[in-house]
């Protein structure tokens, strides 16, 4: 027993010696330490990719109020006369424009938050490039240009909706500093955007089909154009748009419908798009927007006002009393873009007839639950032959299209007071509406005050549901006229079941809006005001 005793003691003592220390230095096993990250110049590309991705999510039915996430972008049309949020009058978008916008509006808060998240990534990236980057200079310049472009666009959006916002251009030294930032004036923000975009125009490569996913010179110029248009600096706007046109890399695609889907997303018309890749980095657009009979949630409900803005094929404006109007075939005799953009009652979608009339027994009956609230759904952006996972669709969503460049160029020339010639019209608006798949009669109006409404309507129709409508209404300062009064949906003149408001044309009543002058400027989120008195 004594022997055993000693053996055990010896064993215990040995064990002691072996295990008296353990590894107290632990580091993450699948993440880069900040201190070593820049040791490899190639890592810069990883960080740049992170700037593009920012808050976006893939393969998820979640919503992200990122200006470029497909839903953050196109759902902005809910806050316009183009579309209605199926989720009703209390939708954060609808409340932006129905006279009940408040500082606790969750969507307003999210756009703010997501903008600064993207800005933060760009600031960290640009700071890292400046102090630590040791790689190929040419590559470095391009990468810096891309991040600079992304950051500038975020400030562009902030300046357009919030106007005065904090201007943050460097990473915060201390977390708490973020609580002490002050507002910069809209003019300061605009100056910053213009300066930065000009720099990035110098730094960025021109558009190419292969490189289309990355920020490019044309995209930077187009945002510069947007900034100038908003600032009513029309001559400068016309100049930058002309630059894009003269570069000749982009063109109007003959097939309107296809450029919004994964089939033809690489069209040169799409200067810069938000990128999705089926299954790997998919979008849930089919989930959100498709009809109930296809398993969709019908969230995007285009409005009658948009439906009525499409001309008849002969180039005349829509009129319920026109003989060309057929209430049983709503796309008959209409600008073909109507059919490319909207799913209308009794039209075919994915090989099935879509029936939403109020008397129908279908799962898509208007206002039957999670179904259209207006009688319309969105066809644009959908590849009808797609049969994969509805939350993993791969279609890109264009941020800047060449069509916008042409229409904006014309608008800049017009507003700058330049003479409007038929050549100019043919090179711009008529090129857009004359493309093979649309083939609408050319515009010949050269009187600028008569041309203005035509151009604005053309812009609305061409760019419908692409998320730019509210911005247009803001900069034209026409929201107060356009976004007041009743909101109507699809005409169902023959339906037995009626909405609760009478309409001469049998239109389905949706809601009403009272846009206020103060709604041109979004309030700084209440939660931000709570934390930082400088923002009150």
């Amino acid at each position: 027993m004594k022997y055993l005793n000693k053996t055990i003691i010896a064993a215990v003592a040995c064990t002691f010696l072996l295990i008296t220390s353990c590894d107290m230095e632990r580091s993450p096993l699948d993440q880069f330490s900040t201190t070593t990250f820049w040791d490899s110049p190639d890592n810069a590309e990883l960080a740049l990719t992170g700037c593009y991705k920012a808050s976006n999510v893939y393969n998820s039915s979640g919503f992200v109020r990122d200006w470029w996430a497909y839903n953050g972008m196109i759902f902005m049309d809910f806050a316009s006369d183009n579309a209605y949020d199926r989720r009703g009058d209390n939708s954060g978008y609808f409340r932006m424009v129905n006279g009940t916008l408040q500082s606790n509006n969750a969507h307003v808060r999210d756009y703010w938050k997501v903008s600064y998240a993207k800005i933060s990534r760009c600031n960290i990236f640009l700071d890292g490039m400046e102090t630590n980057f040791t790689g190929d200079a040419a590559k470095g310049t391009q990468w810096i240009g891309e991040a600079r472009f992304i950051r500038a666009t975020q400030y562009f959006y902030l300046s357009q909706y919030f106007q005065n916002v904090p201007l943050v251009t460097k990473p915060f030294e201390d977390t708490q500093d973020a609580n002490n930032v002050a507002l910069s004036s809209k003019a300061e923000i605009v100056t910053f955007v213009i300066d930065e975009l000009k720099k990035s125009v110098e730094e960025l490569a021109s558009y190419s089909v292969e490189g289309r996913a990355h920020a490019n010179k044309q995209a930077a110029l187009a945002f510069l154009g947007r900034m100038y248009l908003a600032e009513k600096r029309f001559t400068e706007a016309a100049e930058v748009y002309k630059q894009i046109i003269d570069m000749g890399e982009n063109d109007i695609d003959p097939d309107y419908a296809s450029i919004f889907t994964d089939e033809n997303e690489a069209s040169t018309e799409n200067i810069f798009s938000s990128q999705y890749l089926q299954d790997l980095a998919g979008s849930a657009l089919p989930q959100h927007c498709w009809p109930a009979q296809d398993g969709g949630w019908c969230i995007m409900c285009p409005l009658g006002d948009l439906f009525e803005s499409y001309q008849f094929t002969d180039g005349t404006d829509f009129d319920f009393n026109s003989p060309l109007y057929d209430s049983s075939n709503l796309t008959e005799n209409r600008d073909p873009r109507l059919g490319y953009t909207l799913i209308t009652n009794k039209s075919m979608f994915r090989g099935k007839e879509y029936i939403c009339d109020p008397d129908a027994k279908t799962s898509d009956r208007v206002m039957g639950g999670q179904t259209t609230q207006t009688g319309f759904l969105m066809r644009k952006f959908s590849n009808e032959s797609y049969s994969g996972n509805m939350q993993r669709y791969g279609g890109d969503v264009p941020v800047i299209r060449y069509a916008e460049v042409l229409l904006s160029y014309l608008e800049a020339k017009l507003e700058a007071g330049d003479a409007i010639t038929q050549d100019l019209l043919d090179a711009t608006i008529n090129k857009v509406r004359g493309r093979a798949s649309v083939n609408m009669p050319p515009i010949t109006e050269t009187n600028s005050s008569l041309l203005r409404p035509i151009l604005r309507n053309e812009r609305r129709v061409e760019m419908a549901l692409e998320g730019t409508r509210l911005w247009d209404l803001f900069r034209w300062h026409t929201a107060i006229e356009e976004l007041n009064g009743d909101v109507w949906g699809c005409p169902f003149p023959d339906a037995v079941r009626k909405s609760n408001k009478e309409d001469a044309y049998g239109r389905w009543y949706v809601s009403s809006r009272q846009f206020r002058e103060s709604d041109y400027k979004w309030p700084i989120p209440q939660t931000e005001q709570d934390i930082n008195p400088n923002l009150r």
Binding site: M1, K2, N5, I8, V12, S21, D23, M24, R26, P28, D30, Q31, F32, T34, N43, L46, T49, G50, C51, K53, N56, Y58, D85, R87, G88, N90, G99, T100, Q102, W112, Y116, A117, R121, T175, Q176, A178, N179, V181, E210, Q275, L277, A281, A292, Q293, D294, G295, G296, W297, G368, G369, Q370, N389, M390, N500, Q526, T527, E528, Q529, D530, I531
Partner: protein, 1119 residues
């Protein structure tokens, strides 16, 4: 006094004599001693050897007092097939001894002992008395001495004694295992004395960090419950068995979901708004999940509440330490015990919904349009077309069954002096309320104690656990997740159609994905197996007397898997939402530890010292792997390989942490009267940067046992005070509990920030999280002052303590206190400070009246919780409150609600103009909308405008201010009854969206919501305001306000039990030591004013699992 052989429980001796008498009365049954024959052949051997031989030959055991039997006497015995009496007569021949035999127990005692006393000459005054225990059973051999003299006596077989005493003498009655008692002789000539077992009062031993301690000498605040309270409580999860049992320990059960229905245990309130305020749970010294432990294996659960007791666990002890000790084998013959129960459960409450026709009418009103025609509504009403116009309750369809529940535990226990063992096996099968939902758990354990040498003991504990949770799942294509997702959607959607049509197809449901009851029926499933094995070896070595060296090594391997299959389903119109998908996940955690301690404990006269020094390290490594595929061919092959290869994904990660610690403790007491204790721990954690890796956590405590002072002991008027102790302690503790963040100070470029450039998916990285490179522990300083008392010989106990916990350097993610302009989320930072202070009271009473013995135990805890500073985010709001404007304010409790006060609703649109201008909150107020109160304004007085900056205020907190429990127990002739009431008060709850709001995102309407504001018949305070279509947003009426913040106080009959123990004379005849049957009800009723149909412990949005009421029938069997 020392007893030989298997004398663990002193009770036995008396029980045995009681039974002996019974046997004399009923001799018709032939006893073991009568039928057993013994053969024994021993030459010149000792009496001891002879008795040992008899013991090994038979099942007899011997009981006698040391010294009375001459064990070394030499005897010779040669017998074949003889009765035990014959054998014993031979063995004990020549000694003046008698014996009595009860079944297998033989008591040997000095002949004539009792009669000698009875016949002793009576001088002075003869005092006769009886000493019994609290069960009324005579205590044999108790010492009865007149204090200060050698004049004494010993009780006889019936517990009787007689001795001579003078009036005024102090009689001391003592017996090992029982509390001594002193009685002053007055005029009485007969005294009946009840001795209390020490386990119920003063001499109880409690488990403390790295050891045990006599309860009387404990200075800190420790609550402990023992096996007897746990064995009888047929609760699947140990945490829930603790509810209401101990003061300062709050258990909140938020879910009844089988397998994940463990309660949330909080000790002395919620200690932090940063790091998780959960207690450190140690199972036999090793951190673990208490809910994986088989309750029947547990010997004690000891909760270290204050700093002086917990500080020895340093950096993880700030929120208390729960020490769970499993049973060890005991010396003696094999004992088998079986505890089993069967029962069923049902939801305590379920929300009721309006009928579908009422739903349709309300929707029409809200939409102001004919969403449902009169014809539709008629069909809903008359049920003429049930396939299309139904009136279903999806929630009841989903929660359709009374879940069957059963548990069986067997343990085998025994050993000899050197080797002891405890083996146990436990089985639990708990069905849920939802079909296909069950939880099965198998526990096995072996605890061995081997004395390798006289000064070397090895304790081995090995346990294994396998559990499996099965649940139905959501089919492919729907955004809901798992069982809670199914329940949430059942809460959400109105039952307008059946779920399954007569032809077997599923109806489309609102989202064209089918309905929740159909999903339960589908092929979708979730499987969640958990395998845990752990081994824990402890070596105790005593190189010299009083010094004990111990080394503990433990290893635990936990594997948790998840298999999540979402099937395809075919809807009535032929569509198949989907695709089907399968995700399989494996998580493996390996935990290792080594601990060494040296403990020196010695008494020098009246000085008792105990010194402990120790070292430990622990490390844990985790690894996971997730793979998925979709588009399975049919639903019969839910295995990864069967899925389509083109959309497969894989993910995986790993992490690890380590802690290294040095600790020590010094205990000193003077005559067990003045008590001092000090501990320290020096803890290092891998989670903190080099400069801040180590933290020092000291504690000090002092106690005074007033009752040990002679001025109390000798004071006859104070003899009703059996024990009185005052104590005070201080200590500093740490908390490093930052879940899922093992490198909280390290700034990293996290990968996974990928973006699709054209046709390629490129890797990306970003610094998503702002970190603090100088991070350190969160610290808590605790002061504790308390008193403990035992009165009237243990009939009454009363304890009270006051504590103050100051937590600072809170490890807090200041997400809602940092501007989003930062653009990153924040990791834990050391910021903020808060205080918890409160009182704990425990009152116990036990007594016996006639044949009824009863006990009442009550505990009450008052806690006030207050934020002292936020660190970042201390912003003065316009209303003067200082905080982040949403969730934390200085001077207010955490987990608070901040919002408006309401004063009913507007009766008509005209009233809006008469009320304060509330356009800043509700831009278009109308009849049926809340009238928000104008509380303040820029000048500190109501300004005629209701505004978020001035008119929001504190509306209450989710942390209960009062927590209480009341245990009632009674026994009468084998019947036992116990009831446990438990509750909380001054606490708020909040339910929103699908659980609280009508028509939330196409949602349903609950019955109480249906009594909404009616413009035709307006009332000021309707049950629900103007009903609105909510979409996915919260319009002005749904801002946080006192209407939505609910009083969540409750009193619950947590447990009710009625048991019957069969009389021993019946059970022992069939070889059973103890047999008890019981009926038990858990969560039987609850008094509260929460929302109709919702349990007050439920918060949230309707993604929940109801709390269950459980009815069981059980058996406790020992033989």
């Amino acid at each position: 006094m020392h007893l030989y052989l298997n004398m663990k429980n002193k009770m036995k001796l008396s029980v045995l004599f009681l039974m002996l008498t019974m046997f004399c009365a009923s001799a018709s049954v032939k006893s073991y001693s009568q039928v057993t024959e013994i053969s024994i052949h021993l030459e010149n051997t000792t009496v001891k050897k002879a008795l040992d031989e008899i013991k090994s030959e038979s099942q007899f055991s011997f009981w006698f007092r040391n010294g009375e039997v001459n064990l070394s006497k030499t005897v010779t015995v040669n017998m074949d097939h003889q009765n035990i009496r014959k054998v014993l007569d031979a063995v004990l021949a020549g000694q003046d001894l008698a014996y009595s035999i009860d079944e297998k127990h033989i008591v040997i005692y000095k002949n004539q002992e009792s009669s000698a006393q009875i016949n002793s000459i009576q001088q002075e005054k003869a005092i006769r008395g009886t000493v019994v225990d609290d069960q009324g059973i005579p205590i044999i051999g108790a010492n009865v001495v007149i204090k200060g003299t050698t004049n004494g006596s010993i009780t006889d077989l019936d517990g009787n004694f007689i001795l001579q005493a003078n009036k005024g003498d102090l009689l001391t009655v003592s017996y090992i295992g029982y509390n001594s008692q002193e009685i002053r002789i007055k005029d009485q000539t007969a005294i009946n004395i009840i001795l209390k077992e020490d386990s119920q009062a003063l001499d109880e031993v409690v488990v403390v960090g790295y050891g045990v301690q006599k309860k009387a000498n404990v200075i800190g605040s420790i609550a402990q419950i023992g096996a007897e309270k746990l064995e009888n409580r047929s609760t699947p999860k140990l945490s829930n068995a603790l509810t209401g049992q101990m003061s300062g320990v709050t258990v909140i059960q938020r879910s009844g979901q089988p397998g994940v229905d463990g309660g949330e245990v909080r000790i002395r309130g919620v200690g932090s708004f940063g790091a998780t305020p959960s207690a450190l749970v140690l199972i036999d010294g090793i951190p673990g999940d208490m809910n994986d432990v088989n309750s029947d294996d547990v010997e004690t659960v000891s909760v270290l509440k204050d700093a002086s007791t917990a500080a020895i666990y340093g950096a993880r002890a700030a929120n208390g330490v729960i020490l769970i000790t499993t049973k060890n084998g005991t010396e003696g013959k094999v004992k088998v015990s079986y505890n089993g129960y069967v029962g069923f459960n049902k939801a305590t409450e379920l929300p009721q919904f309006v009928d579908t026709w009422r739903y349709a009418e309300l929707v029409n009103e809200v939409r102001q349009s004919e969403v449902y025609t009169a014809e539709d509504i008629q069909k809903y009403k008359d049920g003429s077309d049930p396939e299309h116009y139904g009136n279903f309750n999806y929630l009841e369809d989903v929660l359709s069954r009374n879940g069957f529940q059963t548990g069986h535990d067997i343990s085998i226990n025994g050993g000899d002096k050197k080797n002891k063992y405890m083996l146990s096996f436990g089985y639990l099968d708990q069905e849920g309320l939802v079909e296909k939902n069950d939880y099965k758990r198998y526990n096995a354990r072996i605890n061995l104690v081997n004395q390798l040498a006289s000064n070397l003991t090895l304790t081995s504990r090995m346990s294994g656990m396998y559990s499996m949770r099965n649940e139905p799942n959501v089919p492919g294509g729907d955004d809901a997740n798992g069982l809670l997702g199914i329940i949430q959607k059942a809460v959400r959607y109105p039952g307008l159609t059946p779920s399954i049509l007569s032809d077997g197809t599923y109806t489309t449901g609102r989202e064209h994905h089918g309905t929740a009851p159909a999903w339960v029926d589908s092929d979708s499933f979730l499987q969640n197996p958990n395998y845990t094995i752990s081994a824990n070896l402890k070596l105790d070595y005593e190189p010299i007397k009083d010094l004990k060296l111990s080394a503990i090594g433990a290893y635990e391997n936990t594997s948790i898997e998840n298999k999540n299959y979402k099937s395809t389903i075919t809807l009535e119109d032929g569509t198949i939402p989907g695709p089907s998908s399968l995700t399989e996940e494996t998580n493996r955690t390996i935990y290792k530890t080594f601990q060494a301690t040296a403990n020196y404990s010695r008494t020098f006269g009246v000085h008792n010292i105990d010194v402990l020094a120790g070292y430990s390290w622990e490390q844990e490594d985790y690894h996971n792997l997730i793979g998925s595929r979709d588009n399975f061919p049919g639903n019969d092959l839910p295995y990864i390989d069967a899925g389509a290869p083109d959309n497969q994904t894989s993910e995986g990660t790993a992490w690890g942490w380590a802690i290294q610690s040095y600790f020590g403790r010094v205990k000193y007491n003077y005559a067990e009267r003045y008590l001092f204790e000090s501990t320290f721990r020096y803890d290092g954690s891998s989670r903190f940067p080099d400069d801040n890796k180590y933290g020092f956590f000291p504690s000090l405590a002092a106690g005074w046992r007033v009752s040990e002072e002679s001025f109390m002991k000798d004071n006859e008027d104070l003899s009703w005070i059996s024990g009185l102790k005052f104590k005070v302690s201080w200590g500093r503790l740490g908390n490093q509990n930052v879940p899922n963040n093992y490198y909280p100070y390290q700034s990293v470029y996290a990968l996974g920030e990928n973006y699709a450039f054209g046709d390629s998916y490129s890797s990306g990285a970003a610094i998503n999280v702002a970190t603090d490179p100088t991070l350190k522990w969160e610290e808590t300083e605790t002061y504790d002052i308390g008193m403990e008392s035992v009165l009237f010989n243990g009939k009454l106990t009363f304890n009270a303590s006051y504590f103050h916990r100051n937590t600072y350097d809170i490890l807090y993610k200041p997400t809602s206190s940092v501007s989003t302009v930062l653009g990153q989320s924040t990791s834990q930072m050391n910021m903020g400070e808060m205080n918890n202070s409160g009182w704990e009271f425990e009152l116990g009473h036990q007594n016996k009246v006639g044949e009824v013995s009863y006990n009442v135990n009550a505990n009450l805890t008052l806690i006030s919780n207050e934020v002292a500073t936020l660190g970042v985010g201390n912003v003065t709001q316009l209303n003067g409150m200082v905080g982040n404007g949403s969730s934390l304010f200085i001077g207010y409790p955490m987990q608070m609600y901040y919002g408006y006060q309401t004063d009913g609703v507007f009766l008509n649109d005209g009233e809006v103009a008469e009320w304060a201008d509330q356009t800043a909150v509700n831009p278009s107020s109308q009849a049926g909308d809340f009238r928000y109160k104008d509380i303040s304004g820029p000048d500190g007085v109501p300004d005629g405008e209701v505004d978020p900056n001035y008119d929001r205020t504190f509306l209450g907190s989710r942390i209960p201010k009062y927590t209480f429990g009341l245990n009632l127990g009674a026994e009468y002739k084998g019947f036992d009854f116990s009831a446990l009431f438990q509750g909380v008060a001054d606490v708020k709850g909040y339910m929103n969206y699908f659980a609280g709001f009508a028509l939330a995102n196409q949602g349903n309407i609950q019955e109480w919501q249906g009594n909404c504001f009616d413009p035709e018949n307006p009332v000021r305070n309707p049950e629900y305001p103007r009903i609105q279509d909510l979409g996915n947003s919260t319009p002005p009426n749904y801002q946080t306000s006192d209407f939505w913040v609910l009083n969540a106080s409750y009193v619950r009959l947590k447990n009710l039990q009625l048991g019957y123990t069969l009389p021993k004379h019946i059970t022992s005849s069939i070889g059973i030591e103890n047999l008890r049957f019981y009926l038990q009800g858990e969560n039987l009723f609850c008094i509260n004013s929460y929302r109709e149909g919702w349990d007050p412990e439920i918060n949230g949005t309707g993604s929940y699992y109801p709390i269950l009421a459980t009815y069981t029938f059980g058996v406790n069997l020992k033989f």
